[in-house]
Symmetry: C2
Subunit: 147 residues, 2 copies
DNA sequence: GGGGCGGGTTGCGTGAAGGAACCCGAGTTG
DNA sequence: CAACTCGGGTTCCTTCACGCAACCCGCCCC
C-alpha cells in the first residue's frame, strides 16, 4: 500500500482498509486468532519477510489492534496478543475466508472450518436485520450515505 | 501488493486476498455495490489513478467477480457489473465497514449505513451456528484445519 | 476542424515489499 | 571461556507496483 490513505472516501470501509488493508496484515490477524502470538510463530506460519512483519506488528500495536506484552525477563521477550478491537475482526476474517470457500473452490474442499465451540456446528456469517430480526439476503441490503 | 501470491497458506483467507486484497479492489467493489458501473464513475468516486483502475477492473473481470458489458455501440462503450460472485462479497464488505464504525469512531458517527430494503431496519453482520441455530460470539468460534 | 466525452494506454519517478546479512542479550554446550 | 543457539529484531540493497501526467482513439456536435 503506497500512501495507505484513502482520503475523502467518507466511508468506514476505506478507514478500515487504511488500518488492516495492507498486504499481510489480515493474515497476521488470522494467525493470531488461531493462537499464534510470537514473532517466530508468525514467521513460521506466514513466509513473510522479517522487516515487513516487524513493521506490521508495530502498526497493529499502534492502532491498538494488538498489544505487545512481555512473557519473560532475562532476556526480556515479548508476545503479541489481539485486543478486543482485534478480536472484533473475527466476523470479517471468517466472511472473507468463507467467500473464498464458496467462490474459489479447490478439489479436496476448504482447508479450514469455523466450528462452534461446545456445539461443534459450523459457524457461518449472516446478515441480520436489527428491526425485523430476520436473516437478510445480499440483494435486500441498501448501503446508503446518511451524512 | 507486491507478488500478490500468498503461497502455501492452506487457507482460503489467503486465496481470497490474492484476488480482492490488492489496494483499491475492495473499494471498487463497494462502489459497484452502491451502483457505480462505469469507468468514469469509479474515477469520480475513488480518486484512483486511471491505469490502476484499469488493471484492477481487468483482474476483476478475469476472476469473474465483475463482467464487462457493452451498453451502447457507435462508439462501443462498456460498463462493469458485479457477477453473483462479486455480490457475494456483500457480507465481507459490510463486516469490514461496520468494524470501522465500531472501532474507528468519528465525531458525527458513521457516514454510511446498511438498511434492510422494505423494512428499513439496520442490517448487521452476525456469526450463526448451522447446527444449534443460535447467534455465536467471537470467542465461541474455533477456526481449525480440517485437511 | 475544433472541442468534448468515454474509455482507456504509455512512460516515468518513488516508495514499499522482498531477501539476506547482521546484531544483541542470555542461556547452554564442550 | 569460546562457540553456538534462540528469540526478536534492524540495516541495506534490489525490484516492482503505485501515482501522476500526458497522450490516444472513435465518435458526436457545432
Amino acid at each position: 500500500m503506497l500512501k495507505h490513505t484513502y482520503e475523502g472516501q467518507d466511508c468506514n470501509l476505506a478507514r478500515s482498509l487504511e488500518v488492516i488493508g495492507e498486504r499481510w496484515t489480515l493474515l497476521i490477524i488470522r494467525s493470531a486468532l488461531l493462537g499464534t502470538s510470537r514473532f517466530d510463530g508468525f514467521l513460521a506460519h506466514l513466509d513473510i519477510a522479517r522487516n515487513v512483519l516487524s513493521s506490521r506488528l508495530a502498526r497493529l500495536v499502534e492502532q491498538e489492534i494488538m498489544e505487545r506484552v512481555p512473557y519473560q525477563d532475562k532476556p526480556v521477550r515479548y508476545e503479541y496478543r489481539l485486543t478486543p478491537v482485534g478480536r472484533d475482526l473475527t466476523r470479517a476474517v471468517i466472511a472473507l475466508m468463507q467467500w473464498g470457500d464458496r467462490n474459489l473452490p479447490q478439489e479436496l474442499g476448504p482447508p479450514r472450518r469455523a466450528d462452534h465451540i461446545g456445539c461443534d456446528g459450523v459457524v457461518h456469517v449472516e446478515l441480520h436485520c436489527g428491526s425485523c430480526g430476520r436473516a437478510v439476503h445480499d440483494e435486500e441490503v441498501d448501503v446508503r450515505r446518511i451524512r
